[in-house]
Subunit: 334 residues, 4 copies
């Protein structure tokens, strides 16, 4: 961390700052030029509050040189992390398609879709049971009952399963769930993240729709700081001024996350765009950008889905996407 | 709600749609023009999923005519809601200054600030104890211990107190807290909102930094749907491309919220701007925009605050702001 | 266009509105429900001002059913437009790599790069001569002198050339330029667009960094309304809250533009990301999303480029990208 | 400017960088710590391209310590600039209301409004004649004919007048216009700004709807670099994800601009919100934030205005706003 002082800093305040920094176990290298003095801080600056220092009267600016995430940082862990989800692997060259309905509605529905997507090459089954809906009057998911149906589908198809947790009180219900999803709206629900750090299940951490790439990594750090390194990052679109698509899918985040972190990165083109006909081109683009998995909403009858219908595709469409995706991945390996 | 059909809709699909809408207890008024057919839906459309209908092949667009919030809607509750927080009132012409430190650090600190801000005219004392920090390595607040200190300050000064809840499991600790704050990051933590709907304490609901005005009202609706109508809305800045200030304070949200809803609206210029010298002009602007309260961070020694120092002001500065604010409010009443 | 009236509209105002709409040569189909009356407007609504109607006291909302762009609209021109740029073709299955330096610096530089990128498969040479720089003190480009150097490179390599125009007064200098670029900052310089509509040269219209997809199409419409249909659209990233990349590349815009319009779409990953190591993955992703061309900055010595160095890649890197891009396109055709 | 090097920089590359920096007339102060070396650059860094340096392999980050605007910078010009527009003054404690219709439609219209707003206290008359419309099919303004009508109104009322220029070729028509407006879409039309720097007329520079505060100041610098210091800055709302208002009015920009620059700042609540009933509260808030003027759209019959009707208010409403604004300004002076 580098602290750039204003011209002619008040010596008493500078002395205060120096002592306070030293009390944080930091060494200070001072370099004085004609117009400016710069303090180089050496030591563990990950818990130093930049804003606090920047607020001081004598400080012009503060620059963090090391990213404040450690466990998630590729610098300290150069090798790709491979996360195992049941018998599926994600990361380090392992790719997985995650597919299933937005909401689980019935046993027949989830089992039928599970069988279809498995046949088409999906490695993990998704299905929503706790649904974060903007309106309290909208369908909130089958909840505990939905978990049971999802586990039925798992038993039938041997596919590992992923579903979203919305509150830590629901954790007991997730005992047999293979991958716990933290939704975009909960990416900075830090109490939830802390608790998930104490379990050893893989976590699918979705980027908040107004969160930066570095904030996503800091949220991963919350989970990893508790001892759980099985974190999969998920890009699912950010909120911008553009209204033609539901969100703006930020595919540059994929190579950027890969350069900053060793964690696997999957992409959710269904929620990002909110439009079924964009799912295929964005799946292909996501793969070409280098992601480790794609999560796709598949429904057997989108027109009657209880939620998020517009972004769902039919099993036969998923089959075509899966086939094209496999060919694309073969080509990219060359 | 109005459904605009594409030209020459498939009759079978139209029949399906019509039946499905009727099964939602909606009456349908069809009007056919040369190139387009429009369905006017009459009935309670608040739980109808627009996106679902828009996804249909035969549908061009769907327009909601009534806002999907009811309890929070001024149309159905024309009179201003007045929320009582201890002996303070907010809304319906009642204005309150809320002041105190970002984080409670010690008994001496919080009591000293509490006495100062009370003397200067604050009606409610704020002080953070559960702190939502981006980094797991940053100071997380004094937590349960902090609640005790805040209640000490309440006892000493008789000021009602507000602090932020981060997880529903903390609710028991809030028994003697007068106003429970839901932070921006939890505005769409729907499980938390639902639980808060079942208690009768006043809730200070902060707008998410990437949430629209209507989404804020939908989150208020979650609380009110549970039976708790004591909701105070708080504008605290939204995330935009501008980096000169921490967030962009959206003051037009104040009169807009007042026209859409009967709930009181307070403004937090400290977090919105993140810069101490902007707190006074933005407090004045917020009051001129018509808000029902302003929440200001006050610290006795900003340079040594454990968090959020740059946006804090000193008690003597708060005193000056409070005096100018009072004069301004007198003028605006004329 | 559909006008939704408020309940119980004032009859005199309704009469005024009706007459005014009729004076705009629109037929009105009125359909009255219990709580609402809807006016369906039939005719050419492309020049009707929605905001004007929405402002009326008696109007609840206005919905445009037909997009206000006509010449650019795929509905009226279902076949892909193929734009010819010298001997290169873009659109309708024709793909082109556009490559060259951000700024032209010398004859040796531009000719050397031109030869290199041609060898590697570029179909069009780019080189900036009028540079829109944020600071008046930054290098503004070689201007007229640069045009000469670019034309030298064209003569040497037979590559068609593209460069940016910044003001209509520069048009005479563009007589031998094959493709005129309108930069992101000028996308809504309507006077410039109108003038370019009167020439018959192909125009490369870059999306403004805060412009929606529909606004981009409206700007294309400005050019086409003047009689020039040779417009190529260019996605180059939009401004969001994310700062890890310079802009956020919106690749979903590619299939979205293709569905709304018949015009070809190219992608500029260099400016969008501002980071050289992201150019290859974003080029691949852009191609996989279905674009008709990619524009890449190539420099023989990025460390000494006079502007925009960070996003430039070396000729040997471009060669590798071009080869991978060709393989990818072969795969996608299958 | 401070350049932070990566650990163990390649000595040859460091030597290259050092020489290149020296060739830019900069002195270099090197300070080496255990893990990092920092170069402090002393001299005129306003034309040094940060991005170029940041692109180098050996560079970790670059921090600009001095803002790259000089003429607009309050550091070098501590006193408020007062701009004279005819007999009106703006800045340095002088406040002006600017009022008039969005578009000039007829002599009767503009003269009648001019008389009304003058009576109500407006100091400057506005009226659009060249209109930047998103659609080429929308009304484009009366253009040259409109300038004549505006000058008629000036003659009748002795009010100085302001209207927008869209292209430098229109400049001759502005000979008798007192204040030339550069619209938000042209804020980075650098060729236009350069030309306006060579005339001595006051310029009203509107902030681009996706431009930062610093970019606005850099655009002012373009004008001032040419010798014209009569620049008035205008905040008119920025583009965000919020759709309840047309744009998000960034009132914190007012005190922020005042601290960074000596130029006067006016606010346009009409365009920012796009909603007539928000004009009064946002005018009051703008004044309370410390602005030097407010620009308000006034129309004698908003329902029939040819453009931008929803945001216009009637003369009697303007009269009430003007009276309340005067009282507010009196209070704030205390």
């Amino acid at each position: 961390m580098v602290v750039i002082l204003k011209e002619n800093p008040d010596p008493r305040q500078l002395d205060n700052l120096t002592k306070w920094l030293q009390s944080q176990n930091l060494q200070i290298h001072t370099s004085s030029g004609v117009h400016q003095t710069i303090l180089g801080l050496v030591g563990d600056t990950s818990c130093v509050d930049m804003d606090l220092i920047r607020a001081l009267d004598i400080v012009e600016d503060v620059v963090r040189i090391q990213d404040p995430f450690k466990s998630a940082n590729r610098k300290f862990h150069p090798l790709d992390t491979v996360v195992e989800v049941g018998n599926a692997k994600i990361g380090g060259g392992n790719f997985a398609l995650i597919a299933g309905p937005c909401s689980i509605e019935s046993e027949a529905q989830i089992i039928s879709i599970a069988e279809e997507v498995k046949k088409s090459g999906a490695a993990i089954l998704r299905g929503g049971v706790f649904k974060p809906r903007t309106s309290p009057y909208a369908f909130q998911g089958l909840r505990a009952e939905g978990i049971k149906l999802l586990l039925e589908a798992k038993k039938e198809t041997q596919l590992p399963v992923v579903t979203e947790i919305m509150d830590i009180s629901q954790l007991d219900l997730f005992a047999d769930i293979d991958l716990i999803q933290v939704g975009a709206r909960n990416m900075q629900n830090f109490e939830l993240l802390k608790q998930l750090g104490h379990c050893q299940k893989p976590i699918l951490l979705k980027r908040g729709f107004a969160s930066t790439i570095k904030e996503l990594l800091m949220s991963a750090e919350y989970i990893m700081a508790g001892g759980n390194n099985n974190v999969i990052l998920c890009e699912r679109g950010i909120r911008t001024f553009e209204t033609a698509t539901r969100n703006t899918l930020d595919l540059a985040a994929v190579p950027m996350l890969h350069s900053l972190s060793h964690l696997p990165v999957v992409v959710d083109p269904s929620h990002a765009t909110g439009i079924a006909r964009l799912v295929e081109p964005m799946t292909m683009a996501a793969i070409a950008s280098g992601c480790d998995g794609v999560m796709i909403e598949v429904h057997n009858d989108p027109a009657h889905a209880l939620c998020d219908g517009p972004q769902s595709i039919l099993p036969e469409q998923f089959d075509a996407i899966s086939r094209r995706a496999a060919i694309l991945r073969e080509t990219l390996k060359k």
